[in-house]
Symmetry: D2
Subunit: 169 residues, 4 copies
Amino acid sequence: MSRRPLIGVMGAGEGASSAAIQLAEELGAAITERCWALLSGGRPEGVMAAVSRGACSVEGHLVVGVLPGDGRDHDRQQTAELDLALFTGMGQARNLINVLSADVVVVCGAGGAGTASEAAHAIKAERPLVLLAVPPLWQEFFCSLSAAVQCTDAVADCCSHIEALLPQD
Amino acid sequence: MSRRPLIGVMGAGEGASSAAIQLAEELGAAITERCWALLSGGRPEGVMAAVSRGACSVEGHLVVGVLPGDGRDHDRQQTAELDLALFTGMGQARNLINVLSADVVVVCGAGGAGTASEAAHAIKAERPLVLLAVPPLWQEFFCSLSAAVQCTDAVADCCSHIEALLPQD
Amino acid sequence: MSRRPLIGVMGAGEGASSAAIQLAEELGAAITERCWALLSGGRPEGVMAAVSRGACSVEGHLVVGVLPGDGRDHDRQQTAELDLALFTGMGQARNLINVLSADVVVVCGAGGAGTASEAAHAIKAERPLVLLAVPPLWQEFFCSLSAAVQCTDAVADCCSHIEALLPQD
Amino acid sequence: MSRRPLIGVMGAGEGASSAAIQLAEELGAAITERCWALLSGGRPEGVMAAVSRGACSVEGHLVVGVLPGDGRDHDRQQTAELDLALFTGMGQARNLINVLSADVVVVCGAGGAGTASEAAHAIKAERPLVLLAVPPLWQEFFCSLSAAVQCTDAVADCCSHIEALLPQD
């Protein structure tokens, strides 16, 4: 059995720009088209919601959300676009699980401090990291932490980077 | 989109009895047959391996492992029977994630202290818990912690309990 | 510099019996008298509160609470009897930190499922475990998981067990 | 009983500069002089070791380390400069505990990706954050995430910031 590569996409929740949301939706669709599985923070807003929605718009999707809540009723009702919802009950510590589980991590658009923590954890854990359409300051900062970080502004190019970064069997 | 119910199956790793392993394999197959997804601790041994193997023996499986390791190379190579491998880097704390994420938790066969912690966390978190073919002392102990715990010795009966315990839409 | 031994005391929160609360208070005082530091779940109720109160009643105490909450204002106000409050934001996963951090773990009185998870984690992690005044069923269950578990009904005897179980320099 | 403020100091491990190490040692001493308790990542290297050493050089210290390991023998032997060693067994997820537990978080000197994750988590969790002698790019990046971040190059000034940022009773 050969497992589908798992692509982690991180980005802003509430404060996401409409440009980031559009890119995330496009990226999600591209992920499913390539038969990759998608992993995100799973909450129903911003980049997380958009990338899941995009991935679900193509047949054959596998969309996983790793959530901060403990899965009580309210949590469970808010996960419509997920094929699998994992509840950690660990708040922001779930950011680290996202990063460790992904074969490649993508940061999509300008995010807040939560997204920044995920990019930093990805570098610390030596997970391949692609920055998609992030501000120049984000590029400069994270590239200063690791020479291996990839940057791009286009979804097609991002997918080429992912492809090149996936572990070879 | 309607998500597949997620059944968490917990049990012994290295020390699992052959009876527990056979039951786990049978239970895994029954889970996929009912179009449920399977969640386990994901390591390649004992009940975890057997339930995944059983689930994978039926078409349409969705088998998730939530692992203690941080997903470095060695970890990744040991997850052959998983459709999805989530790496937590959190050791035994991943037991709690398994329990919180499952719609119903099943303990299969006599387990060790790790399995006992999962049964206890399930009760604490008020997740439905079914004990399948556990020793009388386990039944007595966990039923003393919660009147809602179900006990059975047969896979078919276990699946009926799961069915009755699944959240209704 | 020689570090003070750290004794973890676990037990019921809200549902603690008055016998367990009295024992916990006595045990806390005995811990400080022996120049040990105390670690508990830190919440202001039941055995956690009582053992901290007891430890603080003797001069020279060092009382640590490892809390499930994330340390927002409300959490911080509820930790009056702690010399140190550690906020994990990880809910029940903090139980595991308590157990791993303690040099010896004591379960005081009949607890609920949360306490049971801590006893199970202690055994799994091979931390020395003393059961103080727990019901026969608890004794029987946890002793079936590990032959190293110690049981007693008296605080003085519990402290002798702790002393014997402390790591030797 | 009034609890001592807990100051979290984060910085590079192995790759710390000698300037950062000297500042950390000075900061540690200043923290104990003010009767504050110190919290760090606790490992015996770089900024973590230096700040603990500094704090221990003044009488009345309370030095806490929150460690990534699970407290097996090897871990325990490496914590000479700690009054309290908390073992999480959660790897980098312990970074979040450090941040949530501190009343004020200080980043000391240029750090790596682990330190960056801690600064990001501090902002996300709305913990007061002081950047001490970090590179201009770090200042610019973290100040772009939150207007509340304080920057300074001197230990005395850092302590004034901490004092002003401590929760008022």
